[in-house]
Symmetry: C2
Subunit: 440 residues, 2 copies
């Protein structure tokens, strides 16, 4: 009976418990001692217990109980069951992110934030694309060869609203003009990044890059997004009261998650978009409803359980031994990681900082906004994970992207806290928040 | 890219959303209109959307999006990913059941409850075993042939504390002598049932049935249980404060679940016990700790999300078209279902009712206790699911067991509510609760 389905489940349950403990130990060390976001500790815990490091060691002479059967047929470095749970986690995470977005504040700051976010998407995309091409990790001769560079560009556009929000909340500057601008810009950035991702995935799938194809993909992505948003605004009240009609325990939670799952699956199956796009959009559509308040607490509990699994599993997929695999040497992979990390900082700082200067911030304020946009965090990890799982990028680029993500995410809080000390970040004559053009 | 891992996940996510919606619709109809426990609605929803019924229809002329690839290699009628999530759900459910047991009250009523529970385990086991043999669903010529009868016996021993507790809470008789006795007896019943299950699985695995083998299995089960309980009582305080040292969001929840997963996997891998035994025992061991209070709410949210998946997936595995498959005709399967349902009522009523009469209840009280022990509920479903997944019982016996479970679970509330009207259930002279021997 030891190869029965239940025995298989037992092995996976044991692995899952290792993942959960590793996540919490890593997260706690990060938060408590290193003062960096817990997500980085979870990621590093995943890298440590991966089959490529500790997980691969045959402990106590016996079989390696933490060992993952690498390459289970689908090109996945983890078992399909764990991959499935990790994907569920990503969907629930993005759904909650959408749900928790303050739609009113978002609408108020959407104009300056859009300008900041656009700069913070375009320049990182171009510099990510450029770095990949210049360092020989993409082949400009064919569309297929160009796709990795497009994907690195897409990864570079990410902004992790969670990490900046956390740091600004800690220093009580969340509702400063810079704070609100960064948060709204991070939301716009998510939307733009998601459109970029949709276009890149579309190009990877179609294998062509005509203006018409990009236009179609763009319209599909924007159409799906706007459609769900408009439909959401119009019917979200009815959906909310429909769901709240269910009185049985957990009814609202389960049905809200079902809506997120439907939007995710529809995005992937019928629109060729990433599942997280569907989940995020559905969350945003429902963010103003009574349903949101009803499910907030229980959604957080589900997230607390699932999300660490996602980041550990992402970490477990990092194979630094494959860093210089394929056509490239280890040295060139390391050079790529260093260059991409530096480019990531410069492109986001310049790309978001200069627009910030022109929408009413002085140099101090623009610097704060620029620094707030730096961390790539979970968004970049999710995009990189999609790239690896769909076979568009290999282990080498995936590893480089992880290094860049960790670097920007660790760096941001270090500089953000001192940058927020001192005077106003608004231009002279705009000291009074209500008189400035910010947020008008 | 449409066979990529992400496309597979998207299909499963869509299926999961169908499962969740079906669960909630079924549960709500049960609770609101039929006044029966929601678990039965979820089960029936699962049967309805199974690949054997609605799920198998090719909707809209296209592929059947709800269709499950029946028989995915492992002998599972559902995909390994969904099976894994369903098993996670069963583990979390039993862990919470253990955690929510009031250990003090349990200890106070353990003596009369043990007597009631023993009768309520022995007679149903024997009558379940007997019915299977008499109706020709087991072959007494070999151990292997006898195993289905043993398994049916094990399924018959179950008592669903959740359903009785729910009904008694509704009519505010939860803390009556009968109520507390039933709840404590249901707990003892779980423990005894779990030992019976361990022995049956042991026999199925070993293929022998010597007294020594049974003794070893019994000692293993009791040893694991007592070991974890004693160890739990001694170190649960330290485990609790150790876990509560973690301050990051969801730390207590995640680590408590990790403990449940470790206990489950260890029970299955190293002790040959069912995973739910490990989960339940770990829950009971931690039930008196501060940790329990810290995780209660978030554990309930996780349960609310996961548990409906389990019951729908159990329902999805019911194939009534296989009811008369194999060596048996449809007629004999139906006869088996009817006989087993009747036996289930008689055996539990007599087996638990007569001991109740002898521990201080009058005829009214003994009847109430007997009725309270009737519903097999989720416990029987979990045991039947283990039997099917491990290949010990076939689709025919699985279907019969589901019919019996649904019958007893629907019947109990119908009779329980009128039975609790009227006077005291204690013997004359024992009207004052403190003077009766109940609970001393």
């Amino acid at each position: 009976m030891h190869d029965s389905p239940l025995a298989v489940v037992a092995e996976l349950i044991l692995l899952l418990s290792v993942i959960l403990v590793a996540a919490k130990v890593g997260g706690e060390i990060s938060e408590r001692y290193l003062k960096i976001p817990p997500v980085l500790g979870e990621l590093c815990a995943g890298i440590l217990i991966s089959p490529f490091l500790l997980g691969g060691i045959h402990w106590f002479g016996g079989g390696a109980i933490f060992e993952l059967p690498v390459g289970t047929g689908d090109g996945l470095p983890v078992e399909p069951q764990l991959f499935f749970v990790a994907q569920l986690a990503a969907i629930v995470l993005l759904f909650e992110a959408g749900l928790e977005t303050d739609r009113d504040k978002f609408m108020k700051y959407v104009r300056p934030a859009t300008i900041v976010a656009s700069g913070g998407v375009i320049l990182p995309f171009l510099m990510g694309f450029g770095a990949t091409v210049l360092l020989g990790f993409a082949d400009m001769g064919s569309i297929e060869g160009m796709v990795p560079a497009l994907f690195v560009g897409a990864i570079m556009t990410a902004t992790s609203v969670g990490i900046t929000a956390r740091v600004l909340a800690d220093i009580r500057r969340l509702d400063s003009p810079e704070g609100v601008t960064v948060l709204a810009a991070a939301v716009v950035d998510d939307v733009l990044g998601i459109i970029v991702l949709a276009i890149v995935i579309g190009i990877a799938e179609e294998g062509t890059v005509t203006a018409v194809a990009i236009g179609i993909i763009f319209l599909k992505a924007v159409g799906f997004w706007l459609g769900l948003m408009v439909l959401g605004s119009l019917v979200s009240k009815y959906i909310s009261s429909g769901v709240l009609w269910f009185k049985s325990a957990g009814g609202a939670l389960v049905l809200a998650l079902a809506l997120a799952f439907i939007a995710s699956a529809v995005a992937e199956i019928y629109f060729g978009l990433a599942m997280i796009i569907g989940a995020y959009t559905m969350g945003l559509a429902l963010s103003g409803t009574e349903l949101k308040h009803q499910v907030e607490d229980s959604m957080r509990a589900v997230n607390n359980f699932l999300v660490p699994i996602f980041f550990v599993v992402i970490g477990m997929q990092v194979d630094f031994t494959a860093f210089g695999a394929g056509d490239t040497s280890l040295a060139s992979a390391i050079i790529f990681a260093v260059v991409l990390s530096i480019f990531a900082v410069i492109s986001k700082a310049v790309g978001a900082g200069i627009p910030a200067y022109f929408v009413g911030f002085n140099r101090i304020g623009a610097t704060r906004v620029a620094l707030g946009m730096l961390p790539r965090g979970e968004v970049a990890l999710i995009v990189a994970g999609i790239g690896l799982a769909s076979g568009v990028i290999g282990q080498d680029i995936f590893g480089v992207a992880i290094v860049m993500t960790v670097f920007t995410t660790v760096l941001a809080p270090v500089f953000l806290i001192p940058a927020f000390k001192g005077g106003s970040g608004l231009k002279t004559g705009a000291e009074n928040e209500n008189e400035t053009e910010i947020g008008e």
